[in-house]
């Protein structure tokens, strides 16, 4: 199953990735080969099979924790690694003119 360059561009846009023309061509070929391999799953009849929705069995999961206010990172700490900030807010390019 060959992915077209248009499909590769559409996926890149959905994934918020910018690709060079060379990357688009390379990925079109590589993703097509991987999807061809994945098609072998179609050999299996899975109509009556439940999907695995969690890696742990139901009884192995912890109970939901209490909905209570707890100490967390201070806003100064949580925003300290941001490339740009103003006070404790993340600063991004203007989106409304």
């Amino acid at each position: 199953m060959a992915l077209s360059l248009e499909e590769v561009r559409r996926i890149a846009q959905l994934a918020r990735l910018r690709l060079s023309e060379e990357e688009e061509r390379t990925f079109a070929g590589q993703l097509s080969a991987i999807l061809d391999h994945v098609r072998q799953l179609e050999e299996l009849d899975v109509t009556a099979v439940e999907p695995m929705t969690h890696a742990l069995a139901a009884g192995e999961l912890p109970a939901l924790r209490e909905d209570a206010v707890r100490a967390s990172l201070a806003p100064e700490e949580a925003t300290a690694a941001a490339p740009a900030r103003e006070g404790t807010a993340f600063k991004v390019p203007r989106i409304i003119e």
Partner: protein, 492 residues
């Protein structure tokens, strides 16, 4: 102290910890020996992305003060270890092997890091890895490839390549890695050390940079089975900060360690030894199975008929989860931001273009496609159903055996650069490890000898029932005791 630094570095983890407790050696001596060995060897090996010497020296001094007072936090108090750069470490650079996180200093520690330090272990640095744990050769690290200490022209395996190479080369006594599709067991096999992928939920993932959340699991690498068991016991157990961590009590892994293989039923999946293995690897695996028989175990023929679909299911599920997890790297909250972008969307796309390497981009593309409108049922949902079939295969097999044994990898460590141009070929090398992750089971790689032709290590894989890591350690130790330790790899 007169013990040469190199000899200190070759001590086992428990041996080193006992030495500190008995005041025969100091933690400071162990840490200085470790730092000196990293300094001397890592130029060629490339196992470390960051060394935190000041923090390590301070921790060693504190461990020595405890020893002087006759206190001991645990058996690994004062012993140098290192962790994969996928674990966040407060104030210590954490990159996940990616340029997009270059210079990031996390404001907190991962639970496993906290637990190691609470036990007194001294963290000397952060280990090289494939970017966001995506790879089978450590060549996808954005910073530098890691080399295999047995042969510097070969890969140490991935994605925890640095974690395996550092332990094999004697830079540290143990390390932590993560395993999403084989990323602890494969490098452990290639580097001749013990690597453990615990049951999903056994170890907290809090503070672990996420790749594929339903598959990722943290585990130890060490030169001896008992040392790996001790590290797992230290980091395992419920963490209220990770709602996928299990509440089951942690077993005593060290108690049954020396019980031997007598009476053990070892399942041998016929699909795992029916071709596709290099001759030297197959010979070593069959010899290991014969050893089990000689030690009093029973070999049982079992079948895992859906094994061959593991790669297909994995390369839909893991990229789908990765495409979601890696959406957070958008240049807003941390990491790299592209300069001069016009508008928010352009800033996202340019930051991700500049910060992410080819493999994360490839997997994000694959996952986005598999989850996109019109394809979800055909790809992702079908893969999750196949995952159910794979788990059922194991459940059925474990009706007749206690542990499953087979190869970790189809070949010994391959040459750096050999497979980088063909990602599908690279993915297919995970055929024996991936089903264990899909089924959420524990798996372990233990050295079972050197391949005759190349002289490189071969790993035997043991897979257990859910939460039955104790049987894996017991079975692995029986083999280790019988075969004896591997020789040390050549000096880098």
């Amino acid at each position: 102290m007169s013990t040469p630094a190199k000899e200190l570095c070759r001590l086992g983890l428990r041996e080193a910890g006992a030495g500190v407790a008995a005041k025969a050696i100091s933690s400071t001596e162990l840490v200085e020996a470790s730092l000196a060995r990293i300094q001397a060897t890592d130029g060629k090996l490339g196992a470390f992305l960051a060394v935190c010497a000041d923090r390590a020296r301070a921790a060693a001094k504190a461990a020595d003060a405890r020893a002087a007072r006759g206190e001991r936090r645990s058996e690994l108090d004062g012993v140098p270890v290192a962790v994969k750069d996928l674990f966040v470490t407060k104030g210590v650079p954490t990159t996940a092997g990616s340029r997009i996180l270059e210079g990031y200093l996390p404001p907190y520690d991962a639970t496993v890091v906290e637990r190691l330090e609470a036990a007194g272990a001294v963290i000397v640095g952060k280990l090289n890895m494939d970017e966001f744990a995506m790879g089978s050769s450590n060549e996808n690290s954005a910073y530098k490839p890691c080399h295999n200490p047995w042969d510097l022209s070969r890969t140490p395996g991935g994605s925890s390549g640095g974690s395996a190479a550092s332990v094999a080369a004697g830079q540290v006594h143990a390390s932590l890695g993560t395993d999403t599709g084989g990323s602890i067991r494969e490098p452990a096999a290639f580097c001749g050390v013990v690597g453990v992928k615990p049951t999903y939920g056994r170890v907290s993932r809090y503070g672990v940079v996420a790749f594929a959340s339903s598959l990722d699991q943290v585990g130890p690498l060490a030169r001896e089975v008992g040392d790996a068991a001790l590290v797992l016991r230290t980091i395992a157990g419920h963490d209220p900060r990770d709602m996928t961590s299990s509440t089951r009590p942690v077993d005593d892994y060290l108690g049954p360690l020396e019980e031997g293989a007598r009476g053990l039923r070892v399942g041998v999946p016929r699909e795992w030894l029916s071709g596709g293995l290099d001759a030297g690897v197959e010979a070593a695996i069959r010899a290991a199975l014969d050893t089990y028989r000689r030690l009093g175990a029973t070999l049982v023929d079992v079948s895992l008929p859906h094994s061959k679909y593991g790669i297909g299911a994995y390369y839909l599920i893991a990229p789908a989860e990765a495409s979601s997890n890696l959406a957070r790297y958008d240049g807003v909250r941390y990491g790299l931001r592209a300069e001069g972008a016009k508008g928010l969307k352009e800033m996202y796309a340019e930051s991700r273009e500049q910060g992410l390497g080819a493999e994360p981009k490839r997997r994000i593309m694959l996952g986005t496609y598999a989850l996109s409108s019109g394809y979800y049922d055909a790809y992702y949902l079908r893969a999750q159903k196949v995952r159910t079939l794979i788990r059922r295969d194991f459940d059925e097999a474990f009706r007749g055996c206690d542990v499953i044994a087979g190869p970790v990898t189809p070949s010994v460590a391959f040459a750096l650069g050999e497979r980088t141009g063909d990602p599908l070929q690279m993915y297919l090398a995970d055929i024996f490890t991936i089903t264990c992750n899909l089924a959420a089971l524990p798996g372990l790689s233990v050295p079972c000898g050197l391949e005759a032709a190349s002289g490189l290590p071969v790993g035997l894989q043991l897979v257990g029932r859910p939460f039955d890591e104790a049987t894996l350690f017991r079975a692995a130790r029986a083999l280790e005791r019988e075969l004896g330790p591997l020789p040390a790899p050549p000096e880098p």
